[in-house]
Symmetry: C2
Subunit: 109 residues, 2 copies
DNA sequence: CAGACATATTCCTGAAGGAGTATATATGAC
DNA sequence: GTCATATATACTCCTTCAGGAATATGTCTG
């Protein structure tokens, strides 16, 4: 996930979302220096977010959909949460009171 | 998104997914030092990922579901992509050939 | 008020990582 | 083979940021 934290890398991913691209094309479109793009692609590649295929002297990078599916899967439990309308704060407060009572008793002994 | 890049912060978010917690409880469960937890919570808070509610001398933190919905929304375009089975590589190669032809003609003039 | 407890903030240090430049490697054309 | 092109790597500089310790702020109890 830290691979997507870097703004330029996020841009690269969004570029590759449309279609696979060679390094030089990414350089042109983002206006970055070539070595930086190569390094970012390296990070993305090691994170499993993109994959390469050499074509002649070019290297075509494209997105690995599966990696983003994993992110999607990670979100699943939250999807369940964000529809629950009841406020769990009450439960929390009850728990805290229980815990506090325990401490007090312990102290009095 | 960079807020979630830090492992401990990610853990905090996953802890808060179950239910809101006070700072001290997060400290206990993750075995981190209290100042670090407070700092991480600050980052998460500024990123809009969590929100606070003071209860006595405690501060109860909980997840802001909306923030994660935004991540979910960001994934939407990719959801469309990762079901397409046809390989876009052919298109790319055609484009490259066109481009190359242009260069060659330009050079000969 | 004092003193205990919960949390936040400050300062310092060290490690990670992005940017820039130069260079290395690989492929294709001639 | 030489040369041009495409990409990767190495090295240095500099900024960001997480960890640690000490301290400050705030709140409750008596």
């Amino acid at each position: 996930m830290s691979a997507l934290a870097e703004p330029n890398r996020l841009q690269i991913v969004e570029l590759l979302r449309r279609k696979p691209l060679a390094v030089g094309e990414i350089v042109e479109r983002l206006g970055l220096h070539q070595p930086q793009v190569s390094k970012h692609l390296r990070v993305l590649s090691e994170a499993g977010l993109v994959e390469v295929r050499p074509v002649g002297q070019l290297r075509i990078y494209r997105i690995r959909a599966q990696a983003l599916k994993e992110l999607d899967t990670w979100l699943d439990p939250y999807r369940r949460t964000w529809d629950e309308r009841f406020d769990q704060l009450d439960d929390v407060l009850r728990d805290l009171k229980e815990k506090d009572k325990g401490k007090r008793n312990g102290r009095r002994k």
